[in-house]
């Protein structure tokens, strides 16, 4: 298996704890309790093994990674190893002093989530009063500390009309980059899909706005846009291909090829408690299950796009088609595409019920 290229990135899900309740949360519906989280020593070992394996980017995520009291220690460990550390945070739980400590420890980038362009909507979506104001305050300190800032927004029915306001807000916050990512329906988000799903017209308008604004804001802020895949013709190249570029470590130490892989039946996931990261990457059954193209069925098997999108997303195939080896049902060539269209037709005109807030 020596022809398996090493991973570039590792998503370290340090904890599932999070003060916010966002309805589009992509973490699993059942969360890992604090008592089951890896300790500092175990995370440091994982980071060292990641560097040896060839990983260059570490994404410190969660839940809210600031809920971990050892966050500065973990960042400093990344710095010692030459790993590029990226903090993915809601800002709620960070303090001004902690931002300074993280910067001094060598943190290289902060990605901060924002739920909407105004406080009323943003706090309603996050299910947390005062979150928006707190984010702006912490963002100012991130920028003052000299750290590059990306503002990340998940787009869905309740904020899709705010694309320009969100980009302007990100500029005001001092971000160099804004990531507009249309909601994807895994984990908790699947419960809220009927309230999050936007209709095709609204999605098209938002896409057109983002593409036009990317040009207008060139040199001021980079606009990265993750398209809404239910409205797409072809599926996304999920994770850049299974077991090809990145791996995720859950709070309890399970190594996953993607964030939602535990929703796939019959996969055997190895833990960093039992195996080295190199062993997991090269030999664990879960990482080899959908690596490359030999697992594919038709229409992927004979498709010229098979190394463009790698069959799309296995978890979406499971969630919609009921089989993880199926072509991603978003694809126009998938026999299951009507199920996506039916879900859209059923949900986009849906009523305005209450979110299931993540608690």
């Amino acid at each position: 298996m020596s022809d398996i290229a090493p991973p570039l990135g590792l998503l370290a899900e340090l904890t599932h704890r999070c003060p916010l309740g966002c309805p589009y949360c992509s973490n699993p519906q059942s969360l890992t309790p604090k008592a089951a989280e890896l300790d500092t020593q175990a995370w440091c070992r994982v980071l060292s093994e990641a560097a040896d394996l060839g990983v260059v980017h570490i994404h410190l995520s969660g839940g809210e990674p600031a809920a971990r009291s050892d966050l500065v220690t973990l960042v400093a460990h990344c710095t010692r190893l030459g790993l590029y550390s990226n903090l993915i945070t809601s800002a709620v739980g960070l303090t001004v002093a902690r931002v300074s400590q993280l910067s001094e420890a060598g943190l290289e980038h902060v990605q901060l989530s924002v739920q909407a362009a105004d406080a009323v909507r943003a706090d309603a979506i996050a299910g947390y009063d005062g979150a928006f104001a707190r984010k702006r305050e912490i963002a100012a300190h991130v920028v003052a500390a000299g750290l590059p800032l990306t503002v990340n927004v998940v787009l869905h029915r309740a904020n899709l009309d705010q694309v320009e306001g969100l980009i302007t807000l990100a500029v005001e916050m001092g971000a160099r980059r804004v990531e507009l990512a249309h909601a994807q329906y895994y984990g908790w988000a699947l419960l809220n899909r009927p309230l999050l799903q936007a209709d095709a017209g609204a999605a098209r308008d938002a896409i057109a706005a983002a593409e036009a604004l990317r040009e207008r804001f060139a040199g001021i802020i980079a606009v990265d846009h993750v398209l809404p895949d239910y409205h797409a013709t072809y599926p996304k190249a999920c994770m850049g291909g299974w077991g090809r570029r990145t791996l995720n470590i859950t709070p309890s130490g399970k190594a996953l090829p993607c964030h939602a892989a535990e929703t796939l039946p019959g996969l055997e996931f190895w833990s960093v408690a039992d195996h080295s990261l190199s062993d997991i990457w090269h030999h664990s059954p879960a990482f080899n299950a959908f690596r490359g193209t030999s697992w594919m069925e038709e229409p992927c098997r004979s498709c010229p796009r098979q190394e463009v999108d790698f069959g799309g997303c296995r978890c979406q195939a499971m969630a919609i088609a009921g089989r993880p080896q199926a072509t991603d049902p978003v694809c126009r060539y998938s026999p299951d595409r009507p199920k996506v269209d039916q879900a859209l037709a059923r949900e986009v005109g849906g009523d305005s019920g209450e979110y299931h807030f993540r608690r």
């Binding site: 090493p6 570039l8 990135g9 060839g54 260059v56 980017h57 994404h59 030459g82 590029y84 990226n86 290289e108 980038h109 990605q111 000299g146 750290l147 590059p148 990306t150 160099r176 980059r177 990531e179 060139a218 040199g219 001021i220 802020i221 980079a222």
Partner: protein, 92 residues
């Protein structure tokens, strides 16, 4: 509309954007949530982006080191650096 790079601009990689020599992959430009493979000439250009040289001086250095036509080097380096500038991955 892409603005060309002024000859007296001093390109520098900001914090969070760095060049790294990877034992398996050659030169990589590490940036927020993305990695670019920097081929031979791109890496040579990026190594000079520390704010010490103007763009015109960078072109001189590259022309002296590697030979070649100044106009071609200006076009190639300018294309790379303006693309990075427009994505806020390069300060001037």
């Amino acid at each position: 509309m892409k603005m060309p790079l002024a000859p007296d601009a001093r390109p520098r990689l900001p914090r969070g954007v760095r060049l790294r020599q990877d034992p398996r992959r050659g030169w990589l430009l590490l940036a927020p949530e993305t990695v670019f493979e920097a081929n031979g000439s791109a890496a040579e250009i990026l190594k000079l982006c520390d704010g010490g040289l103007t763009f015109a001086e960078m072109v001189d250095v590259l022309a002296t080191r590697h030979g070649g036509d100044r106009a071609r080097i200006t076009g190639e380096a300018g294309g790379l650096l303006t693309a990075l500038r427009d994505r806020r991955l390069l300060d001037l």
